[in-house]
């Protein structure tokens, strides 16, 4: 009846696991209690949980990402503490538990922190940037959010019922096969990945269709803001790379649950083929994480240097080339698998080639800053830290691209240092920069700069302290994922790394305080203009926060930096007489229905409760069929309401606009000399 689910699944095996479960359950109950106590359930339900507004969905994605960031960071802190103390001793974490922690850290940070964060930012910003009222498929967008949440829920519940995988975030067989990992851990990992992967694929399709079909009139491809370009390329990578994750996960699941022999040691299985398929997804995934952050940096570096983006065309070209080449380097993740020199060389070369367009971008950003009037506000600080730190990581990557070098460094902490050195500045710093940059657009007030700066310094210092020692340790021969060790030379480095993690913790605390004081002082940080940074692209051509319909009407787009051109000509806040009524899709419960069914389905697959899993699958199909008969409802916003909002915002914006009389307007003369594209 309940498969292999018994009371043994509860975490009474270790006190630390029990504490983790208590925090997870307690946190969930606390949130529910607060919602009920403040009586905001109905508000949440109507305005957020069932909303198909891309801006609200985007914000909900970011909330998921921040919650999962906390969970993933606690894992990191525990690992650093364990390794700092586990010299010639067992430390405080038993091996089985330590293995779960490094597996969940990687899985969470990549799939349930970084992915929701970038999806959230794209969701919020991209439709505004291209001058659209919403994404192409608003209801599907909501369903994708809940599928991601269902996957995250599976990872979280593994802390309470059963255990998580001990096979690392890549889940390599044969270790992840039933023979060596008979528990439910690997199954949690597989189904969390597959369920959220379906949601991500649908999101990718949604974003591509939106950018291809819903750009504002006149917004030709070479007028598309760079963040929208990177969103497009990341979405293309999602649509074409995620099938590989699905295939790898499904084949491993068939091995584990149905006795297939894809990757087993016996029966003709071939474990190396798993690495082959997994990394066909895994390598493009790196660029799925990094490209949107590149887009964020591009927007910020132009705005806060008060200059047009340097060599826009080359940035677009580099983005597209990276998206293509991302599919040609996957073998460099398993150089040591035993392939011959010709295979390894070919993939070493493609790996070095892909560094070229990335380097082009770094120079473009530097040249944008060159002779600009740089405002050292927090988004710019993150951008500058990224430029320096990411370049260091890129160089260690080119080093690892040499197969002969890789043989000595593979699976050492050098590799751990390298990829953290890519994705922390290259993705996470970008998401933080985007979070600060677009926060006023989302909520109508900016984030406190003082606490933001403190958070920044703690993070950057913490990053260097935590990961530079790992480079050295890797060169000294320290293998990754060690629960304990006996080499006294390593311990000082590991203690420094642990101090770095504590510094990052301070950074996270500063960010929490920043959020708190900004909400408290929201009147002081209020943005009435919709354009708090004196920015250049269309998302700032609306009130903060924007109305549900985003734009009452759109100007004809005549070049890049469409909003800047409007401000330059003094047309940005001109009243528009011809606003009409606008029809918008209404709220939908579909997201919660599909999300809940997918969650129960995944949970049942993990525990082999097949009858209920089938029932869930049947319910999903039935719901799909029934909804094909429903006519999607739309609500109409009357013209006078649109006009009223439009007038209020534009009046406030004219009064508060920092554009006229701003010394930065010197740049107007430069802009005028540039012929419109």
């Amino acid at each position: 009846m309940f498969g292999r689910l018994t009371e043994d699944a509860l975490p009474f095996y270790s006190e630390i696991a029990m504490a983790g479960a208590a925090v997870t359950v307690g946190g969930g109950l606390f949130v529910i209690a607060v919602v009920l106590w403040t009586g905001s359930l109905l508000y949440l339900w109507r305005n957020w949980l069932t909303s198909v507004d891309h801006k609200r969905i985007g914000i909900m994605y970011v909330v998921v990402a921040l919650v999962m960031l906390l969970r993933g960071f606690v894992d990191a802190l525990m690992m650093r503490a364990q390794q700092a103390m586990a010299m010639n001793s067992g430390g405080y974490l038993p091996p089985e538990h330590f293995d779960q922690i490094f597996s969940s850290h990687g899985t969470i940070m990549i799939l349930f922190m970084a992915m929701p964060f970038l999806t959230g930012l794209i969701n919020f910003v991209m439709p505004l940037q291209i001058g659209a009222r919403d994404v192409a498929f608003p209801r599907l967008n909501l369903i994708s959010l809940y599928l991601t949440a269902a996957g995250a829920g599976l990872v979280l519940i593994s802390l309470v019922i059963g255990r998580f995988s001990t096979a690392g975030w890549t889940g390599y067989p044969p270790f992840s096969e039933t023979e060596f990992s008979p528990g439910v851990g690997v199954d949690y990992w597989i189904w969390a990945l597959v369920v959220s992967g379906v949601g991500t694929t649908l999101t990718g399709i949604n974003f591509i269709t939106t950018i291809v079909k819903r750009r504002a009139p006149g917004m030709t491809w070479m007028r598309l803001p760079l963040f929208a370009w990177t969103a497009l390329c990341a979405s293309i990578l999602i649509v074409f790379a995620f099938p590989a994750l699905t295939v790898a996960g499904a084949m491993l699941a068939l091995d584990r649950s149905a006795g297939f022999h894809f990757f087993t040691n016996d029966g003709g299985g071939n474990a190396m083929h798993f690495a082959n398929v997994l990394w066909m997804w895994g390598h493009p995934e790196v660029y799925i994480l990094i490209l949107p952050a590149f887009g964020v940096f591009s927007e910020i570096v132009a705005t806060l240097s008060s200059k047009r983006l340097f060599a826009y065309n080359s940035l677009v070209f580099a983005t597209v080339v990276i998206a293509l080449l991302a599919f040609t380097t996957w073998l460099h993740h398993f150089f040591t698998m035993g392939a011959g020199a010709s295979v390894n060389t070919a993939f070493g070369i493609t790996t070095m080639i892909i560094a070229v367009p990335t380097g082009v971008k770094v120079f473009d950003w530097l040249m944008t800053m060159y002779r600009g009037r740089i405002r050292y506000q927090t988004p710019m600080l993150w951008t500058m830290a990224f430029l320096v730190t990411f370049t260091i990581g890129g160089m260690s990557g080119v080093l690892l691209a040499v197969p002969a070098v890789d043989y000595t460094l593979h699976n050492t902490t050098f590799l751990v240092a390298h990829f953290h050195n890519m994705v922390i500045p290259g993705a996470l710093f970008g998401f933080f920069a985007g979070y600060v940059y677009w926060f006023p657009k989302a909520f109508g007030f900016r984030l406190d700069e003082r606490w933001g700066t403190r958070a920044f310094w703690f993070w950057v210092t913490g990053f260097y302290l935590a990961f530079m020692p790992l480079y050295a340790l890797g060169l000294m021969g320290m293998v990754r994922r060690l629960q304990h060790y006996d080499n006294p030379d390593w311990q000082p480095y590991l203690i420094v790394a642990a101090i770095g993690a504590v510094s990052v913790l301070c950074g996270i605390i500063c960010m929490a305080i920043q959020l708190w004081v900004s909400i408290r002082d929201r009147d002081r940080w209020a943005d009435t203009t919709g354009d708090p940074w004196n920015a250049r692209t269309l998302e700032w051509y609306s009130s903060s926060p924007p109305p549900a319909w985003n734009f009452a009407s759109l100007p004809k787009i005549e070049g890049t930096d469409a909003f800047w051109r409007l401000k330059e000509r003094g047309e940005a806040y001109r009243e528009d007489e011809n606003v009409g009524a606008i029809s918008l899709p209404t709220n939908s419960n579909d997201g919660i229905v599909y999300g809940a069914l997918a969650f129960v389905f995944g949970f049942c697959m993990v525990w082999h409760i097949y009858w209920l899993a089938l029932l869930c699958l049947g319910a999903i199909v039935a719901h799909l069929i029934v909804s094909s008969f429903r006519h999607p409802t739309e609500e109409v916003i009357p013209a006078n309401e649109v006009a009223r909002h439009e007038q209020e915002w534009k009046t406030a914006a004219r009064a508060g606009s920092r554009y006229d009389g701003d010394p930065l307007c010197d740049y107007r003369t430069v802009l005028r000399k540039v012929p419109a594209q």
Partner: protein
Amino acid sequence: MSDVKRHQREVRNYLVGFGLAALLTIIPFAITAAGGLSRTWFDLAILLAAVVQVLVHLRYFLHIDLRHTPRENLLALGFTGVLIVIMIGGTLWIMGNLTSRMMGT
């Protein structure tokens, strides 16, 4: 009148596609039944017939046309083709190379 013409053209389109596809199906089945080709030539012949038939399906059933199909659809299709070659070709190369080194054959 033009509706009738359009109808005739569309039906003819499908019938031509069906005829070509049937021919390109019968050839590989006939080659298989007849035997006599070396393995390499057999594989090549089958592959060729399959690729041509896929093109026939794309042209006559999915109405892919280099001039009239929207560019974004063509780009997606072309990119898929490139990736299929990279993924299948890459897998065969990588895993084949590995097997030859591991098994000593």
